[in-house]
Every structure is written in C-alpha cells, then in structure tokens.
C-alpha cells in the first residue's frame, strides 16, 4: 500500500457559539491515497465541509481544530498561516460550491488565474499569462485567448466553475478538494463538470476529495466513500461495496432516500381548476431616466397548461428556462398576457385588489425555506397570516387553534408554533411554508422547487407530505423543479421547458421512458436516476490504478 498523500487522524473541530461549544467534527480518521477519488458524503450539518475546511486552515474565526492532519508526513494542524500557505493553494487546493461568489467580480479572470502562479509558482507575469491560457484550455473554456480577459460576470455558472477548477489546478496540486462543486449548477452542466474533473484526474494523476450529498455523483466518480453523520464517520469503504451492501442504518437510509413511488392519477371526471392558454411574460429593461435602449426578454413564450383537481403538472427545466416565471404568471403575481381561467373566472382582467379575495384559492410554496419565512414573526403568526387577511373576523384564539391544527397537518409539533423560523431546520421550515399555503384550503398550489434546498432524506418526507395533502384535499399542483427524481415521484403530467417554451409534454411515464426531444434525454441522462432498480446503474468511470 502506498503512503497516503493526506492522512487525517483523530480530527476534532469545535466552534464557540452563543449556546456553548459546538463539537462539529468528532475525532475522525481519513486517508487519501495518491491518484484516488474519495467522496465524503453526508447531509447538511454532518461536518463534512468543516473537516476539509480545517485541513485547509479555513475555519471560521470562532472555530478551532485539534488532532493531526499530515500531508506526506508534514503536520498541518497548528501551522501559522504563512507556513500553511506553502501547502494550500499549491499542493492542496479547494474549489467551492458557489461559483458566483468565489471569483472576485472586480478582476479579470486572467488576473485571478495568474495570482497563484506568481505567488506560489514564482512565475513572471507573462509566463503566468501563458500558463493561464493553457489552464483555460485544459478546463475546456472555448476561445481561451479572448476569455482570459473577461470579468466573472461575463461568464455562465458552469464556466465560472471551470475557471475555479483551472485556478485550483494552476500549481499541479496533489490533492484537489471539491466542496459540493456541482450543487449550484444545472444538471446538464453538472454532468459536464464532473466529466471534466474525472478526465483531469486521469491526465494529471492528482487525488480528488469530493464533498457532496449527491449519491448519484458519488457512485459514478468515487473510488472510496466515507459516510459522515453528526461529526462522525459512520461507514467507509470501496464505493461499489458500500452501495451494494451498506451496513450502517444511516447509509442505508441515505441510499434509500431517493423519492420513490408514483402518484395515483386523478379521477377522470375531475374538473379543471386552472386553465392557462398562450401565457406570455415579457421583461423590459428600461434604459434609465432618460430613455435609452430598451431590451425585451421573453421569459415565457406562449405556454399553455391546464390542471384538474387532484392532478399534478410537473414543470421541468434548467435555470433560466422560465419555469418559475410561468408559475408566478399563472397566479397573476407578474404582469402577463394570454388567458388564465380559474374555475369559471377569467383572471386576466382583474387588477391587484380584485385578485386579493381569490388569492386564498391560489397558493405558492417557495424554494428557499430560509428566505420565505419572515424572520421576525413566530411560526404561528406566519402560518395564520392568510387567515388574518381573508377571514379577519376570526378571533386571535381561534387563529391560534387553527395554527395548531395546521401544524399537525404538516406533521410538526404544534407546541412549537411560538418559535421563530431560525429555530427550525430546513425541512421543518418548508413544512411551515406548506402549512401557510394549506391553512386557507386552496384549490391550486404552485410548488416552486419546494425540495431543492433540502437534504435527500428530508426531500422524501416532504414529497410524501405533499402527496398525502393532495389526496386529502383534492388539491391541484403545479410542481416546478429541476430535480427529475422528485418530479417523477409527484407528477401526472410533465412539461419540459427550455428558454421560455415548452419543448415536450406528456405523462410522467411517456417522458421518462420514451423522451422524444434530445434536450429531455440530456436532462434525464444527467440526473443519474440510477436508484431506480429497473434501470442500469450507468457507466461508472474506471477507477485509476493507485
């Protein structure tokens, strides 16, 4: 056995917080061998990111690490930053989740790429520029000669992540730590980035540490996997073995967490709740106070959809495809043209105040369970705000009772209703948001990526909850998501959107098993829906000899 390039022994990370000391990582051991891809898997709060942050000496100021981290025999813990900089940025590099914020918006990417080269590699400016172009070529950025002088905002998310990878590769590192490198990207871009990483590893022979919650990614790309839970490694081993025979119940739960099951179709005679024809949304960017050039962007271009009671229409597409805009347009939250009928009323001629009484029947659940709850109101107040608006005659006491009922309906402890949103976890917050939508007994609920910000196991619970609520109340759902696994588990009918248009529509069955459009096929291929037992696990890249 070769000597590991990075050996972590009995690593402890603690944070000093307002409520005492938080023990985030509890004495874990990890080994990264040369040329190997290792995945660290866990849900949010498992300490997977903090482990690698402490290796890089990047812990927040209120945190500290104890134990031992050895890079080829050199101890890293306790090194002063100046000494640590001999390793990080050159031998150990890291790429982060958010490509939008990890590049400095004020500098051209060439400048940012050259920085590690001139500081660590000791190159001259012109040599660094040459190398930067090579690196851009390496990460397959088209036309690197020109792109080297772009600013970060001129690039797409995927391109930025490529630049980040190029930056990390600048000094031929031994270990590349990738902290959820693809989570913020669209599925198709995700697949390209992962493929790039695998290819680079093959060519450059470095080790990659993958921090992720996405088991599909792990299964395809990692040689070995560590599963972390609440600061401890609960299971580790060869990826294939771990997946085919998980021993620890937590690992089993993670693997099992893909939303499963299909929705029962609504009764054939269900009446149409919402019928939208030829919906168009155009955004105008005005050229300031004194006129100027007007730009128009058609975000939704002639989309029609109709939902019956008890039916779910899934809207699938990448970011920028106009799916969220469509959801808001049919609820008349955005100015739109076309025809939208709710039951037997035409919604288009109604203005804001005329829409208000109808809002109780048309609800919306948002993606971000942290942003969609007002931080200064209690959970109970948030849930009952709709009652305050639509049934002002209800007494405070009755409202409180209704809040408790609503909490129970979404399977939350009703005694928590006087807590504030920040005291709940992401999944619990999403339940509160669902309770807020359900308390008015709506007829149509637009679910705008309600599960994307949640861990897989929580996603599953939310999907189950949504299905149960739909059954109990005969709700019509418009389910907007980029996550095909969740869409498949919830929808009767699916629309695939691309740049504002519907490119394909059909029943869930048709779309997943006989996709007609290449775009749809790409989406499905990129989503690694390999937990489905009747599908082949796909081609996993061959593990490198180590």
């Amino acid at each position: 056995m070769t000597q590991p390039v990075l050996a972590v022994r009995n690593l402890n990370v603690r944070f000093r917080t307002g409520d005492g000391i938080l023990h985030a990582v509890k004495g874990i051991d990890l080994d990264i061998n040369p040329g190997e891809t290792v995945a660290i898997v866990g849900e949010s709060g498992s300490g997977k990111s903090q482990t690698m942050m402490s290796v890089m000496g990047l812990l927040a100021s209120n945190g500290w690490a104890e134990g031992s981290v050895k890079y080829r025999g050199d101890e890293l813990i306790g090194l002063p930053p100046a000494k640590l900089n001999d390793y990080r940025g050159s031998k150990l590099t890291m790429i982060f989740q958010e490509p939008m914020t990890s590049l400095d918006p004020l500098y051209r990417i060439g400048h940012q790429l050259a920085l590690p080269l001139t500081t660590h590699g000791g190159m001259s400016k012109s040599a660094a520029r040459k190398r930067a172009i090579e690196l851009l070529e390496l990460v397959r950025i088209p036309d690197p000669q020109r792109r080297i002088d772009s600013y970060p905002h001129e690039m797409s998310g995927g391109q930025r992540q490529r630049v980040m990878i190029a930056m990390a590769l600048a000094n031929n590192p031994d270990v590349l730590i990738a902290d959820e490198p693809t989570t913020a990207l669209d599925v198709t871009v995700q697949a390209q980035i992962l493929e790039l990483l695998a290819d680079l590893q093959k060519r450059l022979g470095m080790s990659i540490v993958f921090i992720t919650h996405d088991l599909g990614v792990v299964r395809r790309f990692a040689d070995r996997t560590y599963v972390m839970k609440t600061g401890e490694v609960v299971e580790s081993g060869e990826t294939e073995a771990l997946f085919s025979a998980p021993k620890h119940p937590y690992t089993k739960m993670l693997i099992d967490a893909e939303p499963r099951g299909r929705k029962e179709p609504p009764p054939a005679d269900a009446r149409v709740v919402l019928d939208a024809r030829n919906v168009e949304v155009t955004f105008n960017t005005k050229g300031g106070l004194f006129g100027g050039v007007k730009h128009t962007l058609k975000a939704v271009d002639g989309v029609s959809l109709s939902v019956r009671a008890g039916e779910t229409v899934g809207v699938v597409g990448e970011s920028g495809s106009g799916k969220s805009t469509l959801g808001r347009a049919i609820l008349r939250l955005l100015p739109a043209s076309g025809h939208v009928r709710f039951e037997d009323r035409n919604l288009m001629p109604l203005d804001r105040s005329a829409m208000r009484p109808l809002r109780r029947h048309l609800q919306l659940v948002f993606q971000d369970p942290f942003g969609s709850l007002s931080p200064r109101m209690t959970a109970g107040e948030i849930v009952t705000e709709g009652l305050l608006v639509h049934d002002p005659s209800i007494s405070r006491k009755d409202r409180d009772r209704r809040a408790a009922q609503a909490f129970e309906e979404v399977r939350l402890n009703p005694s928590w209703r006087n807590r504030f949103p920040h005291e709940f976890s992401g999944g619990q917050r999403q339940r509160i948001a669902i309770a807020r939508a359900m308390i008015l007994h709506p007829k149509l609920v637009v679910l705008d990526e309600p599960t994307s910000a949640l861990d897989r196991s929580v996603q599953k619970e939310i999907v189950d909850l949504l299905r149960d609520l739909q059954k109990a109340h005969g709700l019509a759902y418009v389910f907007i998501s980029h996550d095909l696994a969740v869409v498949r588990a919830l929808s009767d009918e699916i629309m695939v959107m691309k740049s504002g248009r519907v490119v394909e529509r059909g029943t869930a069955e048709e779309i997943f098993h006989h996709p007609r459009e290449t775009y749809t096929r790409d989406l499905i291929a990129a989503a690694f829906l390999n937990a489905d037992p009747d599908e082949a696990p796909g081609t996993r890249h061959a593990p490198l000899a180590s």
């Binding site: 709850l373 608006v389 402890n413 504030f420 999944g427």
Partner: protein, 378 residues
Amino acid sequence: MAEGAVLPVETLKDTVVGRSLWVEARSRLLRNKAAVVSIGLLLFIAIACIFGPFVTGHPFDRVYPDYVRVPASLESYPKADQVEPQIERIGSRVRGKPENITVTGDTVRVTLVGQRPIDERLLAYFERSDLFQAAKVVERADEGRRLVVDVPLKKQYFFFGTDTNGRDLLTRTMKAGQISLAIGLLATFVAILIGVVYGATSGYMGGKVDLVMMRIVDVLYSLPFIFFVIMLVVFFGRNFVLMFIAVGAVEWLDMARIVRGQTLSIKRQEYVQAAEALGVETRGIIRRHVIPNTLGPVVVYMTLLVPKVILLESFLSFLGLGVQEPNTSLGVLISEGAKNIQGAPWMLIYPSITLVTILFCLNFIGDGLRDALDPKDR
C-alpha cells in the same frame, strides 16, 4: 426523523416559547462589556441629569454674586481667605471697622468698632451675603460703638465651580444634560418615525412613487442646514420645540434613505412575495414584513443618530441659535467655557467631559448593537 412525528394533542397547552431574534441579540449585547458599561454609565448620567438638580441645593438659575467664577472644589465654600475681605466689605457698609476676626469652626467672631454707635439693623448685610447666615450680637460696649458679633458661615458646595454669573456649574451641567438628552432622543424619535415610514413606503412602492418621493428627499437634502435653522429662528423666534423640528426635519432624510435601501432588498425576499401571494394588502406587508425587518439597522443608526443630534444642538447653541437663557445645554455651556478658558478652565472642562462621556457611551452602545444584530453572527 423526529421532526415528522405526529404529536398528541395534549401538547397543545404548553407551547414552547421561541427565542426571537431580538432576545438573541440582547443576549449577545449583554456579553459585550464595553456596551454594558456604556449602558450603565449612560443610565447613571441620565438619572443624575433628571434628579440631580433637586439634590445639589442650587436652583439652576440662582445667581450667587459673591461666588462669581469660583473654581471647582470638593470642600465647602466660603474658603478661609474669602471670609476676611468679605467682612471688611460688610464692615464698611455697617460703618464699623472689623477687628480681631477669628474663625472657629463654622462661625466667625468679629469685633466691629464704629465712630458712632452701630445700627444693629445693618447687621442684616451679613445675611444678605452669600457667605454668611444671620449675625448674632454677643457683646456690646462703648454704647454700641463696639460690637462683638458671631456670624455663622453659610456652607455651600460647588463641585464643578460656578460660571461667570455665579451660578452653580454642576446644576447647570445637569440641566444642560437634560436638555441635550431630551433633544437627542426626541429629535431622533421624530427622525426615525418619519424616516422609517417614508423610506419603507417609497422603497416598497417602487417605480414612479419611489422616484418622486426620493427626489423630494434630494431637494430637502440640498437645503443648507444652518440657513434653514436661521430661517426658522427668524420666523418663529428661538424656542425649544423649534430645535426638534429643525434637527428632526433634517435627520429623517438619512433615515429614509437607509430604510429605503433596506426595503429594496427585503422586497425581493421570498417572504414578501409569499405575503403578496397570500393576498396581503400593501399596508399589511409594509407593517408586518418590511418595517420589522428593517429595524436592525434602524436601531443601530438610532444610537449613532442621538450623539449626532446632540452635537448638532451643541453646535447650534454654540453659534447662539439654540436654547435660550436661563435654560442651557451642553453646547451653550461649552461655548461659555471656551470664552473663559484662561481664567476659569473648569467652565470648559466639566461640561465637555459630560458631553464626551455621553457621546462615547452612545457610540459604544451603537457598536455593540451592530455586532449583536449582525446577521452573520446568527
């Protein structure tokens, strides 16, 4: 996961009371030593300013002609070297030459020798002086030409000294503190009330409404402040209420801009969109969702605005546009002190220390609040 468990209805009764963000911010603030000390000190100053004038024994506008510009001292007045010249002066009025002046404890024994019999009614001059109480004749000789008189000293304390008119500076500093703090708090309150409502409305409405409302603010901004105050003073005369209006009318502009900026970012938050989707009216959204979430920065700005307003008031008073005699403010006191810096430095030092302490405290509190309300810390 435990969060999904359905719980029995009995739990309905005893609800868990959540810790609001305010409660958490308070606990963070209380861990900040500088802020806690500042709060304590500021409270002490405020209480001293409010109740102090009743305790010092000197009304703030009482003039002591015999104690003009006496220096600060922890010991009581009159001092030994003041007694003799004062008795000489009184003696000349009583038409008796003072001899054998002996001070024993709190009384002075003096022998007055006149060429003619001394009118004992004239001994009232002793009582009229700020130094002595009523005199008592102990012994008469030579048909009243020679009087031995016992005069008890009137003990007075001037811890901060007195001003050019012979008024107790401690009491006046307290009175000034009262007025400065009152102006600081009230003008700030006015500024915040107008600023928050105006800014939140402008920011939330957006579009043309926002454009017009903010241009009004810009126009008001461009008015020179001093010119504005002089104009108000010319039209309405100098008075206390005018100070609030003048300062408040200028300071709300900043507040409105800050709150508008906050509102613009809050407006795009999903919880505001969620409220819109629920059909909440504009007023309800501004009141329940926008304003409570802008209050963090507002509170911080408030603690920084109070010292700013106090300074503004001091500045106006320094120029002679502020409060009127016999009322006073820290700015007035400092202005007078500055004129007398050579002969009576205490007149500058003590009011300045008071002002500086108040400003420091408020700034530390503001700093502490900013840290406590910082969302990054959550």
